[in-house]
Symmetry: C2
Subunit: 397 residues, 2 copies
């Protein structure tokens, strides 16, 4: 081995930190633990029987293509299907605006790679998605967190005055990770106005959008913009099969072209077999009914979680009421520490993710993220009961 | 869209160039073309019937895990299988030294990401694998090409004197892409001696190693080193199924740990379903017989190519005699241009890749790379006949 490996690592490598969540998941697999930590879909909802049929058909009819290298931009039929779906929703988009990625994490890695120079500023939410913050950090970005859209104009203006014009604004408008909240049309408009006023790109991360349980869908920022200033990142991980590692990007053609060039040197193409299976799953008409089934199941789980919160949580604890997605966000009374709570909770066999991991400024120490999609409704309720009991103990009750 | 997108792209993005090969492949799909351009396995060798059985079993027995998110370092069983195979070959290695990647291209991207700072020097062959050069360029490395291992010591010493100590030496010891040549034990030893003398890492890219048609296998540099200074990159793309996008890295534990952290922010994990299928394919004992079948078929194709060269090529043209892999490298008489040849050849409905694309110093203008794995034996022969006729025309014959 070389004498001093640390000195050989790149500056970016020194900024990389292990995902606290992925580390936590190792604990989460212990048998008695009720884990609210991950962001996993419910495995009992995977459409196994339909997949058996579809996979056989793909191997029967198009194995020579399905097992071969594929196009960097993705399977032509799958791209077409996604474009058709957006058009059906009134979004003006062409196949040239869409490319397949190795799940949305690669979409985030791609925009980081093609836009961020070391020291560049990126705007993100407070809180925001941990693995996006990790990706930006690996490219040595400076993250500036914005707690609410009304503050955005002032923050961006100040940054520009300081010579730190942001490269892009990173937002998760629908059922945000970790907060579970959704941006209103007004908030989306505010963000876009700032983007247009100061000539800044917006990265709209949209992994949960299709999982709406109630309320009315808001337009995507990509659609509201219409000028090509928004890059939308999507994924099949939460609404179909995470094990396929498939997602997509929607963007101006010039940006897609650059991403395609970058992707050639990253993994040549995304899993081809899984793309063919996914395309065939759509073509057989299985996708939308499967999605409706998932939505119904998660709605029930969300309702169960909220009911359990009402029932068990002590006074002073607040939580979000997501209209979709996979997560709830919980805020302890000011001054209490989620880290201290974690130590108590783990002894009660219940885990969660500390909210501070999602705050690029180190705030949020009294917050926690809870996933409600993975465990059964019953385990969710029992987990909330245990968590509430741990909170009571933390409060000295 | 923002006013000046070019100015928003990162410095790395400005160094990214489209793969000339991937662009060429668009032409290669025209019906009458005989293409020596790609590096595709033969689709008729994909083990479709066995895969049908294996895929059914995976969906039947372990769908909940096979369709879910997986571990960043890879499926535990698949890692174990690969480690066992290395041990069988006498390589001392532990599961901690091995991680699964989204094919070997991601392995190359990972080592680039964790080691290269802008301006860093990387040593590569003259010629060397195009998409590795692309990856290094995207991280703004300076490539220094080495034509032969005996020159390595002097070149590295000069670079160190200039304050440009290389981050790593990139080598493809077995059936190199594009040249098809294999490093002797002496050449491997020379390279390792330089690496040890000057305390520099070696990246051993090894996609073709298992495809040996004749002659004796040389030890990997990873094995010869034994100190953790070599990072080996492997892939299932050439020997099993490229459409699964699966490869692996073998390295010192500290390097694997850093790569795992980096990968978390790149794609979270590699395709899980495909990993389960691959592991099951091994467990059923299908892998080795399938590999033997591929080797036999490619050996025949290589022999056919060499016979056709002997038969058709005009005096003065030289070519390599690979003992394995997918490629042959052809050198035209000094002063002739492979680019001029390409224009003639395309009109004869035969294509190849210009050798200069593989030379980081712009040399190799009279060279070309020919793939022999993808087309049938008959088409290979007809392609060589057409190419020879094009060369004669270029020579004014």
């Amino acid at each position: 081995m070389v004498d001093n490996l640390e000195a050989v690592f790149s500056r970016g490598a020194h900024k990389m930190h292990r995902s606290a969540i992925r580390e936590l998941l190792k604990v989460a697999n212990l048998p008695d633990i009720i884990s609210f930590a991950g962001g996993f879909p419910a495995p009992d909802l995977f459409p196994v029987e339909q997949l058996k049929e579809v996979v056989s058909e793909v191997l029967e009819k198009e194995s020579a293509r399905a097992l071969q290298y594929g196009e960097t931009a993705g399977d032509p039929r799958l791209r077409e299907i996604l474009v058709e779906r957006y058009r059906r929703d009134g979004v003006e988009v062409d196949v040239k605006n869409l490319m397949i990625t190795t799940a949305s994490q690669q979409g985030i890695d791609l925009v980081s790679k093609i836009f961020i120079n070391p020291g560049d500023t990126v705007i993100c939410g407070l809180p925001s998605y941990l693995a996006a913050l990790q990706s930006f950090a690996a490219y040595q970005a400076q993250m500036v967190g914005v707690r609410h859209e009304v503050l955005l104009d002032e923050i961006v203006r100040r940054l520009i005055d300081e010579g730190r014009k942001p490269k892009f604004i990173y937002a998760i408008p629908d059922f945000q990770n970790p907060s579970g909240t959704t941006m209103s049309v007004v908030e989306r408009r505010l963000t876009l106005d700032v983007a247009h006023k100061y000539d800044i790109l917006v990265v709209e991360d949209s992994p949960y959008r299709e999982l709406r349980f109630d309320g009315e869908a808001q337009p995507t920022m990509y659609q509201m913009d219409g000028t090509g200033q928004v890059i939308l990142i999507g994924t099949f991980s939460k609404v179909f099969v995470p094990g396929f590692r498939l997602g997509w990007m929607l963007a101006d053609e010039a940006i897609i072209n650059k991403c395609e060039t970058a992707k050639q040197a990253m993994d040549l193409c995304s899993p081809v077999f899984d793309q063919k299976i996914t395309a065939c799953f759509f073509d057989k008409g299985y996708y939308e009914p499967n999605l409706r089934k998932i939505i119904a199941a998660y709605r029930e789980k969300r309702d169960g979680m909220l009911a359990a919160f009402e029932r068990y949580m002590p006074e002073g604890v607040r939580w979000t009421h997501p209209e979709g997605g996979l997560f709830l966000f919980l805020t302890l009374p000011e001054g209490l520490s989620a880290k201290d709570l974690f130590d108590i909770a783990i002894r009660e066999n219940v885990t969660f993710v500390l909210g501070e991991f999602f705050h690029c400024d180190g705030s949020g120490q009294n917050t926690l993220r809870l996933n409600f999609s993975y465990m059964s409704k019953e385990k969710n309720e029992e987990g909330v009961r245990r968590l509430a009991s741990a909170i009571r103990r933390l409060m000295g009750g």
